[in-house]
Symmetry: C2
Subunit: 542 residues, 2 copies
Amino acid sequence: MSHYNNNLDKNNANYVPLTPITFLERTKDIYPNYEAIIYKNRTYTWREVYDRSIRFASSLEKNGIKPGDTVSIMAANTPELFEAHYSVPMTGAVLNTINTRLDTKTVAYILKHADTKALIVDRQFSPVVKKALDDLGRKILIIDIIDKQVDLKDTEKIGDFEYEDFLKKGDINYVWKRPKDEWQAISLNYTSGTTGNPKGVVYHHRGSYLMATGSAVAWNMPNRLNFLYTVPMFHCNGWCYPWTLAMLHARVICIRNIRAKEIFDLIDQHKITHFGGAPIILNMLASAPKDEQKELKHKVYVLTAAAPPPSIIFKKMKKLGFEVMHVYGLTETYGHILQCAWNNEWENLKEDEKADISARQGVRYPNTEDVQVMDPENMKKVPRDGKTIGEIMIRGNVVMKGYFKDKEATEKSMKGGWFHSGDLAVMHPDGYIQIKDRSKDIIISGGENISSIEIENTIAKHPSVSLAAVVAKPDEKWGETPCAFVELAPKQKSTEEEIIKFCRETLAGFKIPKKIVFGELPKTSTGKIKKFELRKKAKDIN
Amino acid sequence: MSHYNNNLDKNNANYVPLTPITFLERTKDIYPNYEAIIYKNRTYTWREVYDRSIRFASSLEKNGIKPGDTVSIMAANTPELFEAHYSVPMTGAVLNTINTRLDTKTVAYILKHADTKALIVDRQFSPVVKKALDDLGRKILIIDIIDKQVDLKDTEKIGDFEYEDFLKKGDINYVWKRPKDEWQAISLNYTSGTTGNPKGVVYHHRGSYLMATGSAVAWNMPNRLNFLYTVPMFHCNGWCYPWTLAMLHARVICIRNIRAKEIFDLIDQHKITHFGGAPIILNMLASAPKDEQKELKHKVYVLTAAAPPPSIIFKKMKKLGFEVMHVYGLTETYGHILQCAWNNEWENLKEDEKADISARQGVRYPNTEDVQVMDPENMKKVPRDGKTIGEIMIRGNVVMKGYFKDKEATEKSMKGGWFHSGDLAVMHPDGYIQIKDRSKDIIISGGENISSIEIENTIAKHPSVSLAAVVAKPDEKWGETPCAFVELAPKQKSTEEEIIKFCRETLAGFKIPKKIVFGELPKTSTGKIKKFELRKKAKDIN
């Protein structure tokens, strides 16, 4: 009988439930006067961010918010949204960030499903919210954010309070509520869901804490980095970085509207060292007119995620001097859990090979216990051959608690003790994972599985092409055939024949699109291409 | 009723007990061929470190080691000791590192108290161990480490196996045992205890994991740093860095004997960026003859801990180009939990003021939830005045499980929900903690508390002095008076009168030592000054 289990129990001295709120508290204690958040002409120190969050939390509680309540927020990447990541959980309540591009119906659905007790809303979005509140049919506490940078002439006051007034009513000596259990919910994130109602992904304090520590190591983020907040904080809590950045006492530069010129200007002005963005953003930067670009005077590290990026993007960004790392994750995993970690052994490869390698989703984050590619039928790992397709399965402390009020979907998603990502991928011999498709995006032609992504990557390498999306088109003979939708780069021209010929140079015959359609691609609120719309279109094309 | 507690439970997909073993597994998967450990002419890659640990674990299990057993190791900072931090917990057993400078009696006590089932021992220490085993009076599994760098002519084989042979018998496909509960013990560290029997401090997997992530942020350690392992790994598991360094896929350079010349040579040869050492080591480096020193070609970051360092050390090291951060911790807290984090607002202070500020113990680590200075009688915080003395009290997940088989001491040490450090300190207005003394080292003269450290720091500033220790000397009139023991720097001379005069320039009259004694200071196996011996001496001096 081992003595290690005797009289060595948890007590208040040696066990404290993990919560990322402590990162802000510590940074406020150590670096109170350091710049924390900069947004246009507004600058807050870490003490101010803490004090404002404490006051706001106190005011929420005074207005009836209790532990376990949901507080929603629909806001752009302004200081208020950063602060809400602290103020709301400080009361024991759960933060629900709402995508600012959603329509009235979906917003109403979320407010209802989330049991929202209070809503913080940027005035710019009040028209949508006002209608959603009518749909909701019950009175909730509304707090208005007034951003003086925004033209508000078509908006109206819908709040009971303005953010700054509400905050001022709070008590600066409010004692924030530590979670009694680190499994306690901290946030609720609705998936963008290309079909059906969005699902509410619940994060807990433990996972948010571990996401912060793991992300810092994965991306080698130093203390006091200059971070440009291009990634929407409403998306996976902005990759959980409001917590990571406080831990690292970073300088956080907010940006409301994503424009190439403004990004280049801010990088220059604030010596930005790190930012993130979907491939579509990187594409925008790389393709921006020369007079909007600014030469980089220092190293800038970029994370890209959200869609499998064409490898050409890595080449283009590298040419501008950016160091891009490709990462992969889902709302259900607090953000990223795979990273295409660079290995020095690849230094001598050709530039094209390097770009191809960088486009892989990669290997697990330090906070992620296991990621495998498995056959979902028998839960067996696929061979490491870079060919056999299986589903990405994830296990670890940065997998969600589950879907809010949806027992069935929760159980289905974590069947067999693994989270089922729904993404189809291969495992390369070196252990790096590469996505081939979403389960529903795979094209089955004459019994062969075709990865739409492989074709997309090929087309994207064509010098005239900016973006490509490939979907299945029903076909009498083959069952399905690939159909490509192509967005050309500014001032570029091309033809169907030219693109098909270009594909033929590298792709197997059965993978070559039978049809090429030019035009702007439809995108979701988070920048993902709406393949379901393209599938509908493809059906109707002759 | 909140829905956040319904159907959102832990399962195998979203909850995995934390263990630092996963850091090695991940680094092996991603950077298998990167250099991991370098010791003289031996170099192991991360895959080799993993494989060797797995094999060793397998062999331990084949030889009867079970979860909850204790495996002890008495070794220098060689690759074997690093590997033991993985191989032993991989079997579910608990690693007990033994200080290599201990005497037979204490080693026997530890082996007995720890219920040691197996002992790994470097051949250099076999004479002491052999006698200790005779005392122990029961047969345990012994594995010999043969270090070819060491002259072994006065040693004999005492093991059942040699380390490398034992390892080779292990199965490379062994599946290591994840802890079922992150509260499970991972290591057992006996305090050096200046009086009485040493106490066995028990660490768990959770704390070791959080020590790794927190340490990296606290010291701003980047991925792939070049770390020189000067700190004994038998001490607080080498500050838990075997786990931190695997997480960061560092290059770890081992060093067996601490000599100034070898340290300077290794810094140069391996481009060392980080190392740690007690003030006594830094003093050795700073005072080394010019022909043993080498000019630094790059930035070298140094952590110092273990004893309150005289501020003059910071000045000396800075002059050589080292960037020193002062940290504080105890065996009971997995290593450091306070750091003297630098604040840019101090840039314009004078060099002396900067050095004084750097000598403070500082503010809490990111993984440490709360550290306060309190009156242990009523558990009230002392005012932040830099004057009122209280005891340092600690709370967080990096406080030990407790003392092994010592319920009473465990309960006493964590009374009132705080770990009682036994160190007396003040809290400065900026929230930085500064140690004034160990409870038992404070000198009470004429009813006034005198900090022995304040006097030591003063004397250490004298150009001829290398090291100073001040203890209480019984005194008929005053109760106690300060008595100073002084070690002079090489080739330096001084007199009692000169030192006393030097003290008078800055110290209050009642703090000036009544007696100065020159000579080498007695030190414990971890480099702490044996004040109890000095106290005895002081008593007998006229």
